[in-house]
Amino acid sequence: MKNRVIFALILALLSRSWPAAAAPAPAQGPKTVKVGLDQFSKFKTVELKTISTSFPINFSIPDRWRPAGVRLSLHYVNSVTLIHQSSQLTVSLNGHPIGQTRLDPARPDGVLLIDVPAGRLSPGYNTLNFSVAQHYQDSCEQWDSPNLWTSLDLEGSFLEMTYFERSVPANLSKAVDFLFDAKAFPHGEVHVVVDIASADSVETAGALAAGLARRFGYKKVLFTASDAIVPGRDNVVVGPKEFAEAAAARAGLTLDVGGSVLQVSPLPVGRDAEGRSLTDPTRGLVVVSGKDAAEVRRSALTLGTMSIPVPGSARTEVSGVSLPETAPYAGSRLLQAGKDYSFKSLDFRTYTFRKVNPLATDIVFRLPNDYRIEPNKYMTLMLNFIYGPGMQAASSLTVSVNNEVARTIPLDKMAGDFITGYRLDLPTYLFKPGMNTLTFTSYLTPKGGDCEMILPDSYFMTLYDNSTLRFPGMTHFTRLPEIGLFMDDGFPYTRWRDGRECEIFIARADHGLLAAAFNVLGFMTQKCEHALFAARVRVGVPGAAGPAAPEKELIVIGGLDSLPPDFFDGAPLKLGKGSDSSHPAPGWGESPRFAAARQSGGIDPDDGLLMQFQSPAMRGRSTLLLTAVSDEKVVRLSRLLLLPALSAQMRGALVFVDLKAEADNKVTSVPARDGYWTGKLGRISALTYFLHVYPYTNYLLAALLLLLAGLLGTYVLVRIRRRRLAVAEGRDAGR
């Protein structure tokens, strides 16, 4: 009893800043997680070639982990022609060697086990570097001989991390980074406590979900929702004073909401037998509340945007918040036409290619998904770079666009060179709307014979981040439906990066469906790299039976049983009326042809369905439907969207997703049979419309005009001819 009192006192001292005294739950032991190295890289295997080369892998440690140790199990295979004594594989962590092994040609298949002391690990991101020095003969060896290789099997290699969970900081700004951590592993989870009956709360919760998803960066985040705090997860209570205080009270926390408030605390998990509040210090509760809807929204936006260590307390009251101005097609790494972008502004840092077989580097950027790529235009690169002396003329810098070689710059001066403003024009047809990758690969070939000493480090080429790129002006006009564009960056819902054109409807007032809506919002936010604060989440099915369909881009989420038959009128699959469906018919022509069928039976109970079609409310606007036979399946479907391997396969107008098990998920995409156009071509005149819609009528008109011109011209010529002859023959000589 005495010990318990002392322990409680110590805890009380430690947590004196908590808004209310609470007793922590019993401390937990260490946890272990084992992750394949392929999870940190886009490669399954890596081949290290030439006499000396290396390959880095970055991995992160969430803030809430206190590492106790890391064990690396590295599976490799080396060439059997290597010399055992002089060939070795070295592993470094953050620049410090932590293990090495000789590459033994007698035992080419090996596993290197390294126990990494916890002290070597840095908070946040760490870099593991695998480097080889390999030789196949003692002298006069060819630096790039095909004998020189070692293959790293990343899929068969693991990092086994042991850690303790830290307590949630008693500081709101730190706690937000702690709870909604872009380094979360393997993914983030947030439970939203919201009153689904309140339209304002639902809408604000949507903005909050978008803000939280943005905080997670590119890390997948799964949302759940209910009207009560649940244990074992980080909870966010969002709602007005009454709802927030009641929800907190039910979990054993006394809360006093006096205005627009943001507050963080350890997660209350109930009360003990003596009525004292019990908490889980490793999980947090964030309260987003206010006296009215406007105050709640103010708090939610603040939580979504705060990024500096202010406030230093666990609670803050927000008296005002304003967001920066935004514009259509504005966003991180989203290029606009006619504007110069430095590489630095696209997250590229000055990069040096070293030695003979350096790794490629790339710039990833985004073009608006409705960018109408026109021929005969060029993207302009202005490169600043330097390269060292002593290389053969065959050395080069190659620029590839989306993995296709576009241009090569020879690095052919023996004395090396420093070049500024090297201009390259890349045809725009190499690019595509959405995500694009510009890859720079340098091939540095040393000068000298087989037996000459080569200093690999003297071969380098540095590309500076003040190099620029510029895209020519093009129009925004594209054909939909195309779910692929949605999967790429949430188009067309993210045309305005704050989501003001996006409205999400959940078919029924169900917390599961609401969580699905948050998942979709989070997905779009992370894809377009901008929190969709202005997107609205509403309850009901837009149309005749529900609320009026707004003239916006719509997303409807709900089970089939909650969708009225009329809703499918414009859909590619008319599930409400005997399942009218169009089946692509391969072999009937180059462009997709369809066989129409009316079938009974609906869809497979284990299938989720995505459909995109023109909004009934406005031409050129879209409706995206996420549905399945039940709401639970819809929630599962929303979670599967977050898997890149699956979302990359989703395209066309109709997507079937097998929901049975993650390993067996199968995606079937069906192209669009009928389409519609969306974009900003400006005002369309009646003439333009006529020409666009009835080109053949216009050709006929042109032919008739041509015929008429021929007849009229003949009439004119005949008159002129008569006059000429009359004058010459003296019949009209007086004129």
């Binding site: 005969n376 008159r719 000429r724």
Partner: protein, 789 residues
């Protein structure tokens, strides 16, 4: 406007009926170009309104295609270009489409294809990349704009060529206008002038109304002052004044050689008084009926400034000769005189071509005589005559027979003078800004001048693909798909339209060869004019030069060979680029094809530089007419077919009956009498068999006239006197069937490669045995020379 009240709105039925009436009138107008009764005077305002409506409708048609295409997919774009092309090509094959309205429809289709191309070219392909690229891109674009303008002006000029017949004289002969025949000469052989004077003195016209003058600039006082008897100028004066006196012609030699030919004629104008002036180059032998066929126009139109007739040239041009392309095909100038000039005449824009024209003294007096500001005084003069409100007439009937320059050097002198003179007019007296000249006349004169700048555009078209393939310059920004959609239909449409308009008067690729051979010679001459427009001086075309020995014209061939070489070098470079620049493969392919095409054109042109020997002085003109031979050995006449004739003799084919064949061997030296009356008067000329060839039962005899001074006049009259003979020759040349582009291309490629083969063989021989110095061009003595003295 005519001042009439605007018509009341009509019911649709009435409108249809009006349309029917209108179409009926149009049909009747087309059926009978010249109605039997004078039509009501057309309203100028009405004609202008119709022209405006026509222009508006034609532009609307273009706009309709261009606008619709903006929204069309790639398939539609391909389809539009090629559908227009095929429609044009298909319609153009019908003979009935040679006349309006079909003709106009085909031309409009061609125009539409080209406008479509230029609209796309201007709006889409002008992309700035680098300063150097931009320079190349702009130069190519300017060259294309030039070609586009010339193409359109050519189409305009050839809308509906006018075919005028000879106009008979009217009234009593004492009311005929008096005519002075001017034969200006400078350094030509006396016997050449003699022949022309003999023919001119035999022109059918009242003798009291006709006076022939030799205007001798080769023996002016300035030339004879510092020399004495025995000097060539003195000898020339003695010979020419003697022969003119003997033939009853006048001889005029002025004090000084000022302003060349124009000055010579102006001097004579002040010393003569004929109402009309017939101007003949001294090698242009007139037919007997030249005045009977032309003076009638002056009797009917007092505001007629001049009547021009074609220059019928008996020998092939130097390029045709070198390419062995002269059998029965149209000659170089046939296109100009058979079609283009008729087109110009339809717009009252026919111009004076320096010879074979009858000019109204009043018109010449009104403009102060022939113009002397440029070296193409003829075109300049006719423009001024038009500017003074005088009309012009072009009569298609050939009424003189002349000679083409026979060596490359004389050919070049002639072309350079024309090009420089036209460039002088372009710079000094640009037709577009001449007062008094009508719009259509301005356009036609402008085209006549502007055309001569072809050397620059052609040169750039030759070099453009190399700039890309060899130097990587991006001067034409288009994908292969766009090229298929726009460029190819346009390029092919130009050829198809050329074939449609001019195909019966000139082999298509002959123009390519002519322009290619001349471009490197003309370019510096034109630049000189642009820099110093008044610098060129009149250089007479040498008339007496002969090719004595077959040889490669190195001076002319080298630039073309260089162009061929760089194009051939670019081809393997394009192969390398194919692998090194995979993204540009479509453009590389097109550039390579362009290079290959250029190479073939250069090969064709190279064949024209191997100068072939002229075997006879009087070039034989191919004819086909029935004659009779009186054979003294048989004591009777036999029928024969005359195959060719010249001033020296003729070739006849005959089939002797068995008894005649037994009695007469037709051995060389046998005397015969050639009797002919197919083209008017009956001729009976004494001749001797020069050679004989038996081809089966057909005997071919080469006859040489046995002419003395008196009978020489008959020989000249027989040989050159009948204009209908020349008309028949031209008709036979033009009646060759139309060939397809491809066949024509192969034909000239074969000719060119054959020429190149000869060139290479010649070069190889020269390597083995270096040649001795080639003899200077000289004149051959002819039998006619004996009669001059």
């Amino acid at each position: 406007m005519t001042g009439k009240a605007p018509p009341a709105p009509k019911a649709p039925g009435v409108v249809v009926s009006m349309m029917g009436d209108w179409l009926g009138r149009l049909r009747s107008a087309l059926r009978e170009e010249r109605p039997p009764s004078p039509p009501p005077p057309p309203s100028a305002d009405g004609g202008r309104a119709a022209t405006l409506i026509f222009t508006a409708v034609a532009l609307a048609a273009c706009l309709a295609v261009l606008l619709a295409e903006r929204y069309a997919g790639i398939f539609h774009r391909h389809s539009i270009g090629w559908a227009l092309l095929f429609a044009m090509a298909a319609l153009g094959r019908f003979a009935s489409f040679q006349a309006p309205p079909g003709r106009l429809l085909v031309i409009l289709l061609g125009a539409l294809i080209s406008i479509r191309y230029m609209a796309w070219r201007t709006s889409t392909t002008l992309v700035y990349t680098t300063p150097l690229d931009a320079v190349g891109m702009v130069l190519l674009y300017v060259a294309e704009c030039y070609a586009f303008a010339v193409h359109f002006l050519g189409m305009f000029g050839s809308l509906w060529p006018l075919d005028r017949p000879p106009m008979p004289l009217k009234g009593a002969s004492d009311a005929y206008p008096s005519v002075d025949v001017f034969i200006p000469t400078y350094s030509e052989p006396v016997e050449l002038v003699y022949r022309t004077v003999v023919a001119a003195s035999q022109i059918r016209y009242p003798k009291d109304k006709l006076r022939v003058y030799v205007l001798d600039d080769g023996a002016t006082a300035e030339k004879t002052a510092s020399t004495g008897p025995g000097d060539p100028a003195w000898e020339r004066r003695r010979a020419l004044s003697g022969l003119t006196a003997r033939l009853g012609a006048g001889y005029i030699a002025r004090e000084r050689n000022e302003h060349a030919k124009a000055g010579n004629i102006n001097y004579a104008l002040g010393r003569t008084s004929g109402d009309l002036i017939l101007i003949l180059d001294c090698d242009h032998v007139p037919t007997e009926d030249i005045l009977e066929n032309t003076v009638g126009y002056f009797q009917r139109d007092p505001k007629l400034g001049f009547v021009q007739s074609p220059h019928f040239l008996g020998n092939p041009s130097v390029i045709e000769k070198n390419l062995s392309h002269f059998s029965n095909s149209p000659r170089e100038n046939d296109m100009f005189y058979n079609l283009i000039h008729r087109g110009l005449d339809s717009w009252n824009s026919s111009y004076f071509c320096g010879s074979a024209a009858v000019l109204n003294r009043k018109a010449l007096t009104a403009i102060g005589g022939l113009s002397v500001d440029t070296v193409t005084e003829d075109v300049e003069t006719s423009m001024r005559i038009h500017a003074h409100g005088y009309n012009s007439v072009y009569v298609r009937r050939p009424m003189i027979c002349g000679l083409e320059p026979e060596t490359w050097a004389s050919f070049v002198v002639q072309k350079v003078r024309w090009a420089q003179g036209m460039a002088q007019i372009f710079v000094l007296k640009n037709p577009l800004f001449q007062k008094g000249v009508g719009l259509a006349q301005k356009l036609n004169y402008f085209n006549a001048c502007f055309y001569w700048f072809f050397s620059f555009s052609r040169l750039f078209f030759f070099l453009a693909p190399i700039l890309f393939l060899a130097f990587g310059m991006r001067i034409y920004h288009a994908s292969s798909s766009q090229i298929v959609s726009y460029t190819l239909p346009h390029v092919l449409s130009v050829y198809v339209l050329m074939a449609f308009l001019y195909g019966r008067s000139r082999r298509l690729f002959l123009s390519e060869i002519y322009e290619t051979t001349q471009m490197m010679v003309l370019a510096p001459a034109l630049i000189a004019v642009l820099l110093r427009p008044r610098s060129p001086v009149f250089k007479i075309t040498p008339k007496d030069q002969k090719v004595e020995k077959e040889a490669l014209n190195t001076h002319g061939a080298l630039p073309v060979f260089f162009i061929l070489l760089v194009n051939l070098v670019a081809l393997p470079l394009s192969l390398g680029k194919w692998f090194s620049h995979p993204l540009y493969r479509d453009v590389i392919l097109i550039g390579s094809l362009w290079c290959a095409y250029n190479s073939f054109i250069a090969i064709m042109a190279l064949g024209a530089f191997f100068e072939r020997k002229e075997h006879r002085w009087g070039f034989r003109i191919r004819v086909r007419e029935d004659v009779r031979l009186h054979v003294p050995a048989l004591g009777r006449e036999v029928y024969a077919r005359m195959r060719d004739l010249s001033l020296n003799g003729a070739t006849v084919q005959l089939k002797l009956p068995p008894d005649a064949a037994a009695a007469w061997a037709a051995a060389p030296g046998d005397a015969v009498e050639l009797r002919s009356e197919q083209y008017g008067p009956r001729f009976s000329l004494h001749a001797a068999v020069k050679d004989r060839r038996a081809r089966g039962a057909v005997l071919e005899l080469g006859l040489q006239y046995m002419a003395d001074r008196n009978s020489y006049k008959d020989v000249v009259r027989f040989t050159y006197g009948a204009s209908r003979r020349w008309a028949d020759v031209l008709r036979r040349r033009a009646s060759g069937r139309l060939r397809t582009l491809f066949v024509d291309y192969l034909y000239f490629l074969y000719r060119g490669m054959k020429g190149v083969g000869v060139v290479l063989t010649h070069a190889a021989r020269r390597l083995v045995s270096p040649p001795s110095r080639p003899p200077a061009p000289s004149r051959e003595q002819t039998t006619t020379g004996a009669f001059v003295q």
